[in-house]
Amino acid sequence: MINVDQSMIKDTIISLKRGEKGIIGNFSVDQIPVKLQEMGCLPGNEVQVIQLAPFKDPLYLNINGNNVAIRRETALLIEITKLS
């Protein structure tokens, strides 16, 4: 059996289940639209998954108090730290 060090795999928004929250960490600025950042998607802000469409795509999120939906491919690029 291969032993994977869990701390090496960074959580992103897609690791959150419905209702779970996280704190936004790093992302590469040229891959995330400015519009999403202006909606509050900035390092340090809170994100919560409100609802998932079938196949978990798109994701309906609450980011820093704003309700937005983004696609899985974008959510995959935004690192988070889970809040329990």
Binding site: V29, D30, P33, V34, K35, L36, Q37, E38, M39, G40, L42, I50, Q51, L52, A53, P54, F55, D57, P58, Y60, N64, G65, N66, N67, V68, A69, I70, R71, E73, T74
Partner: protein, 698 residues
Amino acid sequence: MSKPLNVALIGNPNTGKTSIFNLLTGLNQKVGNYPGITVEKKEGTCRLPNGTKAHVVDLPGTYSLNASSADEQLVVETLLSKNKKDYPDVAVVVADVENLKRNLILFTQIKDLQIPAILVVNMADQMERRGISLDVAMLEKKIQSKVVLVSSRKRTGIEQLKNLLEDYRSLAVSKTIHMADIDHDYFDRLQQAFPEQDLYSLWLVVSQDVPLTKIDDELQSVNNYSERATPEIKRLQQKETIARYLFINRFLKDVYQVDSSKATDWRSLLDRVLTHRVGGYVAFFLVMLLIFQAIYNWSSVPMDFIDESFVRLSEWAGNHLPAGPFTSLLAEGIIPGIGGIVIFIPQIAFLFLFISLLEESGYMSRIVFLMDRVMRRFGLSGKSVVPLISGTACAIPAVMAARNIENWKERLITILVTPFTTCSARLPVYLIIIALVIPDRTILGFNLQGLTLMGLYALGFAMAVFSAFILDKILKNKARTFFVIEMPAYKLPLAKNVLYTVIEKTKSFIFGAGKIILAISIVLWFLASNGYSDDFYKADEIVRAQVENAQLSDEEMETAIASYQLRHSYIGILGHTIEPVIRPLGYDWKIGIALVTSFAAREVFVATLATIYSVGSDEEETIKVRMSTDTNARTGEKLFTFPTGISLLLFYAFAMQCMSTLAVVKKETNSWKWPLIQLVLMTGFAYLASMIAFQLLK
């Protein structure tokens, strides 16, 4: 008289900006050349308390001045055009009380352009219910501007806003953040390159993804700045956004508090059902079913009434006005022609009503969320759902609504396939043909004719999606896709807003179509009541000679003469010339004429038949009755049989028969290539589909 004051209404989508516009201007407003909410420039006037006239422009909803769609680009360009006549003297930035923080981002950007700005906090009546408290005086101090609490629902705060507009010169013009503080190195260099210009304006030009073109000449040259469009820009944009949030966060918690325990959470309750992975789709289907059944059932009473009224009006004109060509033109050309379109007002109004309700309530965004993944498989975006649904009203505003789609390829495909959706101009054609060939029966509680209509709408969508799938395979992708959509709060639609939209759109539809129909009716009447041969002028003698032996009543004789005369009129000759082309589709020459005239606009079809059937006949009958009893002169059988009806329905479902749509597609894609492709492919496909259907069914 003094020059009117230029006021620009700016704000995030879903903040109720349009309600503020309606409250300010009342019905003194006009929407470009075509129907549409805030997609094209919407302007109006209002009188301020001191008598000054204010010219108010309702700019498209925008989240920020970093444009990511064509709509947002228009806003930035307006604000960077000091020399143009629409440049605002004062900006009214509309914010929604629930999303104040995010709305303030846009406000700080407007302030930084040094345009005098007033902040309107809308939906103030919701504050208590949502447990929000706001210290207006403190907020005014912090943002160095005036703040007005407005409730468009309760109509409060508008007078205060008008007073502030009057006094706009006393508004402080100051910046909120200084670009140079973000990165001295970069911004000092930019300023040195254009020492005459304002630094933030320069930054806006340099940082846009798409070069701005409609801006002041002095700023145009900035587009060539060497440090445009570098990866550095993205990093600086993020720093700028963080700086703006820092500015806002410094005071927001002192002036704005939310006590969530006081709020009733309708939002999550509704979202649990309406965005659910199963329940959401069931709800969506039920909503659509309800809409189409309603359109069909609710409007039948007023429609029958209008139909009868026009027949009576036409008859009255024929009997009471002095006989002559003018009366004949009026009674046989203009009145039936106009009646042919007026009859559809109830249905079109209902359609606009429902679309307006979907948008105003916030439900449309949920549909976008639910449909995005499905639509993406066909090269579309969830946001394509908005054009596709509003395309059921009219393809023109729908094609323009595609501007909100950030990705060019997805946007182009959406524009190209939107005309397949069943627009309100097809409705008259569908309804009359359905009434003729589909039995009026009830199956499982649903009206069969209503179901057929819904089936045609489904066919339109299916065709749109199918052609999108093909286009997706053919077209090359230019840029990567971003998809961000706000999920606004659910709102009870404002009766006034909905009413304005319905009136405005129905009016443009009727007058737009009315002009074409009036002109075509006159031409058709002339062509149908004149001819050049003896066959036309001596129809009476010829027919009497032909049927000498047959025992015909006076009435039958008259009908026979009239139809012989029509056959030999100009239009009859023209119709017979094109008949061979359309015969494989099951049409006769009369339908052929209607087909030709409806290339200007589909709804002309019914008006054309109405005019053709009215000429030379003075019986009191509705168009429907005349069409159902008409026979095909060649075969002697009933003209509108089931196969012919289906073939016609398919032709109108697929063919590109709308000059205005072609014009707007040309405008939105900036080339004749795309509208021409639409015209040829759609119409060619329609011809084939109708021919196959007719040949199989007959």
